[in-house]
């Protein structure tokens, strides 16, 4: 059975390494500030938490902000963690790409870029996935239609 790590416990560890990076945490999840996301993700992957498997990457439009959600699992140690980051501003939301860490993010980040309009800095091939180039708007945003 995959053990869901306590977000609070991991948040403490992260705060020690990267002061001021944790925005909030609860039993299941950690929310980190978007400029520290890549560093935190790299820490989760390379430290002895060994989050070697990125299960799912998606985004939610909460109108005030966009939330990018990362579901991480360690196949080696069989535990899981949900990492989130919030992006403010509707014009050009952007966050660091985690594709250099987990190749599995490649197509999922392209999908988020396509349907939610979030730019992933450092992605090797960031273009629309499901819709065609030049399609007006990003359909999964709450203000679309």
């Amino acid at each position: 059975m995959t053990v869901a790590l306590s977000g609070k416990g991991v948040a403490e560890e992260i705060s020690k390494r990267f002061p001021g990076s944790v925005v909030s945490s609860d039993e299941m999840t950690i929310v980190v500030s978007c400029d520290k996301l890549f560093a935190v993700a790299e820490f989760l992957k390379t430290s002895d938490l060994t989050m070697d498997y990125l299960v799912n990457l998606t985004s939610v439009d909460y109108v005030d902000y966009f939330e990018v959600v990362y579901h991480l699992v360690s196949i080696k140690r069989n535990h899981s963690l949900t990492l989130k980051t919030r992006l403010y501003g509707r014009e050009k939301p952007s966050v660091a790409s985690v594709t250099p860490l987990w190749r599995g993010a490649e197509l999922q980040e392209r999908e988020v870029y396509d349907l939610m309009g979030i730019t992933f800095e450092g992605h090797p091939n960031l273009k629309r996935l499901l819709l065609w180039e030049g399609y007006p708007g990003h359909p999964l945003r709450r203000d679309y239609l």
Binding site: T2, I75, S80, T82
Partner: protein, 370 residues
């Protein structure tokens, strides 16, 4: 005699979206040097229906038929993954009998889906449709059983939040029993036909190898991951429903080539038969659905529910704002993520191998494009 140096130039072929080997409407832009693949770029979106957006305007129960249209070769598993996520979000109990029914139809679905994956492998090796018909013969029996259960052959809409839609008719149980008794001998037939076939061996052994490290790093899942030697199956490693009550093995491969993927699928079919056999003996009498209000209003929050679908990890991420429709509905498409490594697997192989390697990923476009 002096040999003349031949100069070749790379050229581009558009494979699909209407190519018969692409299992739907999948398009690849392939660069060839002679017959050798130099570059592959997958193109998605020809079957994009905006299901994630549509779901935001429907109630939790109305979304169930939409999930049928994701992976339409394993619609029961898609139903199941979705209702499990909603049950997790709204804390809905599921009666014992419903759990058993779900396991039985879920494993039947896995057999039906793997039958097609196996059959189309032979098809893609060039044995057009005649061997495939053997697999279709058994799949037909399974579809008849699903038809008896819920009146549908492809899009079942069978699972409900808190249970299933119908109790099976009395004649369903002996029919399933008969199928389970017959199935192992049919799997023997396929193995006699394929497993030691010289042409199959030479075309699939060592072809399209996915390394252990890349498989994990690229978030591969399902038989595609296990063929690379990674012992990871959500039915055991993140047990859901009542899978912990059954004895079954998880077949894994060693080389991560097309042949290992085929073997994993065949062995998984045998394990599924084993699970159904055990479930048929244990299934209790009682309710098949718990009392759930027509309009479900889960508390504010988000949930990620996942199951081991035939093609890999199928996940549903739901966000609720305490209204009757989800605020956000996201599907983790297992086969789309498996295709991340398509380029790594196929570069350096010939066009005919590209078709086989792509087929061994076992994609369904309904799920990829949503």
């Amino acid at each position: 005699m002096e040999t003349t140096q031949l100069r070749t130039e790379p050229f581009v072929i558009n494979l699909g979206p209407h190519h018969p080997s692409t299992h739907g409407v999948f398009r690849m832009r392939v660069v060839f040097d002679g017959e050798v693949v130099v570059d592959v770029e997958p193109m998605f979106g020809y079957l994009h229906r905006g299901i994630e957006k549509l779901a935001e305007g429907r109630t939790y129960t109305q979304i169930i038929p939409l999930t049928d249209r994701l992976d339409y070769l394993a619609a029961m598993s898609n139903n199941w993954g979705y209702v499990m996520a909603v049950e997790k979000l709204a804390s809905v109990p599921v009666p014992e009998r419903a759990e058993y029914l779900r396991i039985i139809v879920g494993e039947m679905m896995r057999i039906s889906s793997h039958l097609l994956a196996t059959g189309f492998l032979i098809n893609e090796l060039g044995a057009f449709f005649t061997p495939l018909m053997y697999m279709y013969r058994e799949r037909e029996k399974l579809l008849d059983l699903f038809d008896m259960l819920c009146g549908q052959r492809l899009t079942y809409n069978y699972m409900r939040v808190g249970g299933v839609s119908h109790d099976p008719p009395p004649e369903w149980w002996p029919a399933v029993k008969r199928f389970v008794q017959e199935m192992p001998s049919y799997i023997d037939d396929y193995e006699n036909l394929i497993t030691t076939n010289e042409i199959v061996l030479s075309r699939t052994k060592g072809v399209g190898v996915l390394s252990r490290e890349l498989a994990i790093n690229a978030s591969a899942s399902g038989p595609f991951l296990r063929a690379s030697g990674i012992d990871w199956d959500l039915r055991r490693d993140d047990t859901y429903s009542i899978y912990n009550r059954f004895k079954f093995d998880i077949p894994i491969g060693t080389n991560g080539d097309v042949y290992d993927r085929y073997m994993c699928r065949v062995k998984e079919m045998r394990q599924s038969v084993r699970i159904i056999e055990q479930a048929l003996q244990q299934v209790p009498k009682g309710e098949f659905r718990s009392n759930v209000p027509h309009l479900i209003r889960p508390p504010v929050g988000d949930v990620y529910g996942h199951i081991e679908a035939p093609r890999g990890e199928l996940g549903f991420y739901l966000v609720s704002d305490n209204s009757i429709a989800p605020y956000r509905f996201h599907v983790r498409p297992s086969t789309m993520i498996n295709l991340t490594t398509l380029r790594d697997l196929t570069i350096g192989w010939k066009l005919a191998d590209l078709i086989v390697i792509f087929g061994s990923v076992d994609v369904v476009l309904g799920e990829i494009d949503r």
